[in-house]
Structure formats: structure tokens, C-alpha cells
């Protein structure tokens, strides 16, 4: 990364008739290894480095990027961004919500530096995980494992005097396993993610978790019974709570979606001005408080300043069941007459920073897991999920259980095969009558943006209990 060229690009942009200009440079050391059935398929290593210019002029936005580090190229992309901003010819001129310039540096610490873990050690940790899995005496015809590393150095400057440097190392992994028994198969996907150093690997306990998944899948094939469809209580484990929080609390609260800027791609939101759902509307029970918080140290979605140079903070999305605060970048905040809450993120120098979640989760309550289950006469405990989806207004959703058990008279019984809850956001969160005190997190990659920007996040929360919902 050549910060002098980024500075030059900003100076060159400021010399034009711009309302605002910024230059964001990234240099990302990215490595990835892929194993199939315990053997290394390939190891890839590269440096992804470049910079972008975003210009606001004549009420329009122009964006251009390059991976060629030269002053001539900087001029070319500034000229393009300026030309594009001017060509928008918008009736409603865009402005950005006010921010003060910031000069700072921040970084995520690593206990065990990723750079110091040689490739052969990384490979052997994953081949060992595979060996442990295959020693579990469950028939596993196929596995895929992947480990990715992203050491991201960023440099952000804008025409308001901001100059922010950062370094964020991230490590991620996933595993996909197929279990076969009695001529049938079941499959599971697990993802892991961390901002920090290689210490994450031990904390993840991948071999132990995969062996557990394999045994669960075997039980689904050999022991699980289908649920008798009907209204019953449903206890969702933290993984299910987390996906529901992400999909039906986080996404509909993205202000760019609410304002229609994603209308043809990720869609709109059931929350919009003039509808029954807006700030202050009831969307769930008093037991439900959902936050999005980038400031959780070492979380997969961690950051201190967003990609518009705005300080990150916790956002209360649903507070005691009431719609409270949207996720904003500077563009959406200006449109709704407020300030950005630091939700603008980009995965790379060549992608526009847009409104994104960071770590979205339900705040804990007071009950133990046992107390949650103990008060259920007939129901299902859906500990984890497989198939899931939600419509593009973020209202009609479906989660299918991966690991699930029957609950009878307050006790967990045998495994249940693929229980399904298919319901609305309002019904789901209104049905919650209690949440446990133990919060768990899962790493995920959230998809949004055109071109696609898969961004690291945590989803999570405690176990939650839903009363009288239809499960099939």
C-alpha cells in the first residue's frame, strides 16, 4: 500500500468542484487452504491491494477503484468518479450526515500471530481434525474443510480531515460433512470466525464439534422421529436465536433497505414510513431485546471505525419488543434526519461501503437452560438449524432443525427429525416469553451488495422459548 498515492488522489479530487471526497486503500494478505476428505486440494496465497475514490458532486455519487498504484492511475479513477457523480442528474440531491474529521490508528491484537504459523502447521491442524472425525466410528463419505486468513491493512482519508489507519487480522474456517447410514445421508455445515490471531483455532474446538455433529446426524438417520405437526412450545438454541436475530431483526433494520436503495437486490423491509411498523412500533414481546454491536472484542464482525470513518457503537434494534434504532451509514442517516451509527462496511477496496450488520444478537435474560425447558409440557428444542430462508421484506421466515429433541413434561426426550418452523417476524418474536442467561455466538458470512460483498458477522444470543407456535 502506498499511502502517498492515496493522499495524492484525495488532493487531486479536492481540487475539483466536489461536495465530498474520500479515498479508501486496502492491502489484504489473503490465504486459503481447502481440504477434501482430509487431503489438501490447494493452498492459495495473495496480496489484494488497491484503492478507491468516492466523490459526492452535484448531489450524485461516483465511485472508481483500481489495483494499480500510480499517480497517473489515481488521476484516471478520480476523473472517472467525478464524471460519474456529475452524470447522476438526481432530482433529490444526495448529502451525507455530518461528521467531524478523525485522525487515529487502531488495530486488533493477536496473541499468536497468524503470520508466525507456517502453512504446514495450518494444514496439519485441519488434517488432524479430519482424522479425529473419521476415528469417531460414524460413516462419513465426504468432508470439505476450508481455512481462510485475511490480514487487512486499511487507510482512509477524506475531505473533512479524517485520516484513519487500521490493521485487522481475521481467521475463518468452515467444515461441511456428510454422514451415511442405512443407505441414507444427512449433512451439516459449521462455520468459525475470529478477529485476532491463531489462538482462535484452539478456542474453536473444531474436532470436538465435528464429532458431535457426526453423531447427531447419525442419530437423525437412525433414531429421530418426525414431529406431529401442531401448535406447541419451541425452545431455540443460540444458533437458531442468532439466525432469526440476523435475518428478521438485523436485515429489516438496515436503513438503506428501508429507504429502497436495495429494492432490486436484497429487497426492501416490512418496516417503512407510513406502515404499521416504524420506530416505536411493537414487533415482539418484552423479553426481546436485539442489538447489533461491532465493539465485541475478537468477534468476527469487530471494528472500531467503519468504512466511512465513523466510530462504531452498540445499536439497539428491538428494545423490549419495540423497534428502536435503524442501522445507518452517512447517506441513509441524512435522508432520515439523523446521524450515522457507524454501520458502513466494505469487504474490499473495490466495493462501495454500504449499511451492514456486525454482530447481531439477543440480549440474555435470567433463566437457566433447564428452567426454559422445564416449563414446557409439549414442545421441541431446536438446538441448531439446516435449511433456512426469509422473504425479501424480511417477514416470512423458515428454519429447519438440524439437532433437535422432543420436550415432554419439562424433559428433553429423543431426537426429532427435521422439525420446521415457518412463521412471520411478528409472530416469532411476539411468541417469546423467556430467554436464558447464557449467550452463544456463531460466525457467519452475511451476503449483500452488488457486486456481492460477503461480510464477516457474528449471530447469536441465548436460548429463547416461544409459546404456542406451529411446528411441523
Amino acid at each position: 500500500m502506498d499511502e502517498a498515492i492515496a493522499d495524492f488522489a484525495l488532493e487531486y479530487a479536492e481540487a475539483k468542484k466536489v461536495e465530498y471526497a474520500e479515498v479508501r486503500a486496502h492491502s489484504q494478505v489473503q490465504e486459503m487452504l481447502v481440504l477434501r476428505n482430509g487431503f489438501l486440494e490447494a493452498y492459495a496465497s495473495a496480496v489484494n491491494s488497491g484503492f478507491c475514490v468516492r466523490i459526492l458532486a452535484n448531489g450524485g455519487i461516483g465511485f472508481a477503484s483500481t489495483n494499480k498504484w500510480s499517480k497517473e492511475e489515481a488521476k484516471t479513477i478520480v476523473d472517472l468518479a467525478f464524471k460519474y457523480a456529475g452524470s447522476a442528474n438526481r432530482r433529490e440531491k444526495l448529502v451525507f450526515a455530518e461528521e467531524k474529521g478523525v485522525e487515529t490508528k487502531w488495530a486488533v491484537a493477536q496473541k499468536k500471530k497468524i503470520e508466525n504459523v507456517p502453512p504446514e502447521e495450518r494444514i496439519s491442524l485441519f488434517t488432524d481434525a479430519h482424522k479425529a472425525l473419521t476415528a469417531s466410528k460414524v460413516k462419513i463419505p465426504a468432508t470439505v474443510m476450508q481455512c481462510s486468513v485475511d490480514l487487512a491493512t486499511r487507510y482512509f482519508v477524506n475531505s473533512e480531515g479524517s485520516r484513519i489507519s487500521s490493521f485487522v487480522p481475521k481467521i475463518g474456517a468452515y467444515a461441511f460433512i456428510t454422514v451415511a447410514e442405512r443407505g441414507k445421508t444427512e449433512q451439516a455445515f459449521r462455520q468459525f470466525g475470529y478477529s485476532g490471531g491463531w489462538e482462535a483455532f484452539r478456542e474453536w474446538r473444531i474436532p470436538e464439534k465435528l464429532i458431535h455433529e457426526a453423531k447427531v446426524l447419525k442419530d437423525v438417520i437412525t433414531k429421530a422421529k418426525a414431529v406431529k405437526p401442531g401448535d406447541m412450545d419451541l425452545v431455540c438454541g443460540s444458533e437458531v436465536t442468532g439466525i432469526a436475530a440476523h435475518e428478521s431483526c438485523g436485515h429489516p433494520m438496515e436503513a438503506d433497505r428501508i429507504l429502497g436503495r436495495e429494492m432490486s437486490q436484497a429487497g426492501r423491509s416490512f418496516i417503512y414510513e407510513g406502515s404499521e411498523f416504524w420506530v416505536g412500533s411493537k414487533i415482539g414481546s418484552e423479553a426481546v431485546t436485539v442489538v447489533d454491536d461491532p465493539t465485541i472484542e475478537h468477534s468476527y464482525g469487530y471494528y472500531v471505525y467503519d468504512d466511512e470513518g465513523v466510530r462504531a457503537r452498540r445499536r439497539f434494534l428491538y428494545k423490549k419488543g419495540v423497534i428502536t434504532e435503524f442501522l445507518h451509514n452517512r447517506e441513509s442517516a441524512a435522508k432520515l434526519g439523523t446521524k450515522s451509527n457507524g454501520s458502513s462496511r466494505s469487504v474490499s477496496y473495490d466495493r462501495e461501503a454500504i449499511v451492514r450488520m456486525a454482530n447481531t444478537f439477543v440480549l440474555p435474560g435470567e433463566l437457566s437452560e433447564e428452567e426454559l425447558v422445564g416449563d414446557v409440557r409439549r414442545g421441541v428444542y431446536m438446538k441448531s438449524f439446516t435449511e433456512w430462508n426469509i422473504d425479501d421484506k424480511r417477514f416470512n421466515q423458515r428454519y429447519v432443525g438440524r439437532e433437535a429433541y422432543a420436550i415432554e413434561n419439562g424433559e428433553l426426550k429423543g431426537p426429532v427429525a427435521r422439525p420446521v418452523i415457518e412463521t412471520s417476524t411478528l409472530k416469532f418474536w411476539t411468541a417469546v416469553d423467556a430467554v436464558s442467561k447464557k449467550v452463544g455466538f456463531d460466525a457467519a458470512t452475511c451476503g449483500k451488495g452488488d457486486p456481492a460483498q460477503g461480510i464477516p458477522v457474528f449471530t447469536g444470543g441465548p436460548s429463547i422459548r416461544l409459546r404456542g407456535v406451529y411446528v411441523k
Binding site: Y43, A44, S45, G60, T76, I123, P141, T386, N389, N396
Partner: protein, 444 residues
């Protein structure tokens, strides 16, 4: 251009000189332009200039890859890559890169798409047509995207080639009411074949028909799939035909080769021909791409292969490398002998689905999945649209759906939009398709 090719060949020579057994380098100069719009106005216009050389080398069956952005860094990058190979682990199924010299079809990229001016003009044309169809108060949003790539490939095993690839795509969604929308796309490899008004018209027409939607009813229906939603399903099946996905059991086609997987009216092929937005004349090993029949008259004929997977399956590469995973380039379903109008006319009672998103599986091998139709969902009775519906989910099985294809239209459309990239589907050439016994569910 020859200068860049020579430099790409030098990368390969350098790798061999340093001790690599085999090496492939692919240099791409890409110019990409995009206009994003919503609420009938342009939000942002974007330009990406991308210069990169992808280098993959093998040393004692260790496969490693990197990307170089400046030819000044070739020596250091290749040395580093070989060092990585030497501490890496053996891939016992690596079967080498494709060997031989090949002749490639002539690239037919449209140079007008290298730096197209007045991008927003095409957008405004589509918006106006959509508004005319859906009503003056309609809200539209979408994307115009152009691509022009020059690609230079050199392999230590013989292949050397040049390719130019161009595309222009418009995706527009129109809302006539808050919950009444339609989506149109227009995809072409040349400017000459690109008609933005067609996408606007489709989006606007569908949005108008979708007005005042009622909550849909759960059940089992005959369904006519629009090319846009059927293109998503073609993407699902097309991906599952990759030999890699067979090997990792992420496919309903495991152990189905040379078996019947669909009725005789179904012929599916992968064909990155000149008219496709993902047109290419060689794959990532330098093997000429070709028209591969995947499902011929209902029988599963071929998996997609690179050299390594072909060796595992004791067959020939199909020109679909991906250096690790073979990949479909452009999925086509052959047209049938029924017109689109006849499909609708002959439907006594059923649904017409126009688009979808969020297709997710419980088990890829078994094929159980659901997807959420979006934009117009219509009830058809006695050949006519009698009602606009909303809030339904298609919850079924990927293999069962393929088996339930009952009629295929003559008319076909090139389809590709944001969702395809999100879910990893290739562009497709997709007909209208009638399927029997499709399971629809809803929230309770």
C-alpha cells in the same frame, strides 16, 4: 496484446525454471462499469479497473496459487509460491494440467463495451418503459453492468491463448404498489443485442398484474416458471453436475450418471457460446470450451470436468476447469415445441411464478430445499390470470422437480442478475417451463 501474452508466458517459464512441475498463468485486464439506481434515480455510478495475473503451479502434486498485480513482482511472487508448494501437502488426486496445443474459436467481444459512455441513458430508458407499463407512480430500482475483459493464458503443458469477453446486463425491478412488483432482466454479450426497454417492459407489466395481492394458499400446484425463476433452478442443477460437487456429495446427481433423472423433454447443456454473457473460448487450463450436453432427453449424460476430476472419473475434461472445481459457464435448457402462450392457455388451475431468491438446502444429496418466490405470483384458472398472490414458499425436492417437468416453451431468454452471483449460479438461457405437483407452503 502480444506483449502481455509474452509476459504471461514469462511467468510460466519462470515457474518452470525455479522447479515447478507444471504451471498455468492467466492475466486478466478487466474494465467493469455499473450504474445502480433506486426510487427511479441513479444512486451511484461505479468503475473498476482490474489488472491481475492468476498463477497456479504444481510441485510433486502440491497445488498452490497466487495472484500478481504487477509484472515487476513476478520473480518474488513465483519464488514465494514455490516455497509455499514445498511446505504444502500432496493432493493425491491432482491429475496435472491439460496437455497439448489447441485452436480456439475467434473471440467475438464487443469493443463498444470497453468504455461505454452515457450509461445512465440506458437506465433511464428502462425506467421510463417500466413506469409506462406499471403506472406513473411506480418505483423502480436496479443495476446496469458492463464488462470488457482481455484474457491471456499460458500453460507449461502447451496451451497458449487470447480471449476477449464482453457483456452488458440490465436488471430492473418495478413496484406498482408496496407489495406488487415485477422484475425484468436484459443480458447480452454485445451492445447490438441489448434492448433495455425489454427488461423495463417485463418489470412494469408484471408489477401491474401483481397489484392488490392476496395471501397465497398452501398446496400442491401445477406451476409455470418464468425464465427468470427457472434460471435459478438451472443454476442449482448446473452446479450440481460439477464432478467436484459429486465427489463431496453436494449434488442430487451422485451415482446417477447414465440414469434417467428427468422426462424426455428435458435437455440441459453447458454452452459458453458467443452470445452468452459468460462467453469464453478456453477454460482455466487452456482447454477449448464447448457445448456439453449434461442431461440429454432426460438421461444424465455427463458431469463437468477439469483434467484432474476427469482422471478420477476415467473420462476426458469437458473444458470446465476451475483448477480445483470444474464449473458450469452458461447453462441452457433446450426449447420445447410448445409456445409460451399455449402453456398458459392449457393450464386449468395452477400458479405462475416469476422470480425467486434465497434457495437453501437441508441436504444437497437428497435434494430437499425451499426457495421464496418474489415479485409476481399469479393464480391461473382456465388459462387466465385470475388473482395476484403473495407470501408463498416453494418447499420441495430438486430431483423431484426435475422429474416433474411437463412442458417446455419454444421461447427462451438469457437471464442473469444479482442473485445468481450471490448463490453462485452461472448465467442461463432459460425457457418457460410447466411443472406438475409443486409443493407450496406459507407462514403460520
Amino acid at each position: 496484446m502480444k506483449d502481455i501474452l509474452a509476459k504471461t508466458e514469462e511467468v510460466v517459464q519462470k515457474a518452470k525454471k525455479l522447479g515447478a512441475d507444471e504451471a498455468v498463468a492467466k492475466t486478466t485486464f478487466g474494465r467493469y462499469r455499473q450504474v445502480r439506481f433506486s426510487n427511479n434515480q441513479v444512486d451511484t455510478t461505479v468503475a473498476w479497473n482490474d489488472y491481475s495475473t492468476d498463477v497456479t503451479l504444481a510441485w510433486k502434486k502440491r497445488l498452490v496459487a497466487t495472484q500478481i498485480h504487477d509484472f515487476k513482482h513476478v520473480d518474488a511472487s513465483v519464488k514465494q509460491l514455490l516455497t509455499l508448494a514445498k511446505v504444502s501437502a500432496e493432493n493425491p488426486t491432482f491429475g496435472g494440467f491439460a496437455k497439448g496445443r489447441f485452436r480456439y474459436a475467434k473471440s467475438r467481444a464487443d469493443e463498444k463495451l470497453e468504455d461505454l459512455q452515457s450509461l445512465s441513458g440506458y437506465v433511464l430508458e428502462a425506467i421510463e418503459v417500466a413506469k409506462k407499463e406499471a403506472g406513473g407512480k411506480a418505483q423502480t430500482g436496479g443495476v446496469l453492468f458492463t464488462k470488457f475483459e482481455e484474457v491471456y493464458l499460458a500453460s507449461s503443458e502447451g496451451p497458449v491463448g487470447l480471449d476477449s469477453r464482453s457483456a452488458i446486463e440490465l436488471s430492473i425491478r418495478a413496484f406498482s404498489q408496496r407489495e406488487a412488483s415485477g422484475h425484468g432482466v436484459e443480458c447480452a454479450s454485445t451492445l447490438r443485442d441489448f434492448k433495455p426497454s425489454r427488461a423495463g417492459e417485463k418489470a412494469g407489466e408484471t408489477a401491474k398484474l401483481a397489484k392488490n395481492p392476496k395471501a397465497g394458499e398452501e398446496g400442491v400446484y401445477d406451476v409455470i416458471f418464468d425464465p427468470l425463476i427457472f434460471g435459478s433452478l438451472l443454476g442449482v442443477w448446473g452446479g450440481m453436475v460439477s464432478a467436484y460437487y459429486i465427489m463431496v456429495h453436494m449434488s442430487v446427481f451422485v451415482d446417477k450418471l447414465r440414469k434417467r433423472v428427468a422426462p424426455e423433454i428435458v435437455t440441459l447443456r453447458d454452452n459458453p457460446g458467443a452470445y452468452s454473457v459468460s462467453s469464453r473460448v478456453f477454460d482455466d487450463e487452456g482447454v477449448p470450451t464447448k457445448d456439453n450436453v449434461l442431461i440429454g432427453k432426460g438421461m444424465l449424460r455427463n458431469y463437468l470436468h477439469n483434467t484432474s476430476t476427469a482422471k478420477i472419473f476415467k473420462t476426458e475434461t469437458t473444458g470446465n476447469a476451475g483448477l480445483v472445481s470444474p464449473t458450469p459457464w452458461s447453462i441452457e435448457m433446450d426449447g420445447g415445441d410448445t409456445s409460451k402462450d399455449e402453456l398458459f392457455k392449457e393450464m386449468k388451475k395452477g400458479l405462475y411464478l416469476t422470480n425467486t431468491w434465497y434457495t437453501r438446502f437441508q441436504n444437497y444429496e437428497k435434494g430437499d430445499f425451499s426457495t421464496i418466490p418474489r415479485d409476481g405470483i399469479f393464480l391461473i384458472e382456465k388459462g387466465e390470470i385470475t388473482s395476484s398472490w403473495k407470501d408463498l414458499r416453494l418447499s420441495d425436492n430438486a430431483l423431484a422437480l426435475l422429474n416433474n417437468v411437463a412442458a417446455v416453451s419454444k421461447e427462451r431468454q438469457h437471464v442473469h442478475w444479482w442473485l445468481f452471483d450471490m448463490d453462485g449460479y452461472p448465467p442461463s438461457l432459460s425457457p418457460y417451463v410447466l411443472m406438475k405437483d409443486v409443493h407450496m407452503t406459507k407462514s403460520k
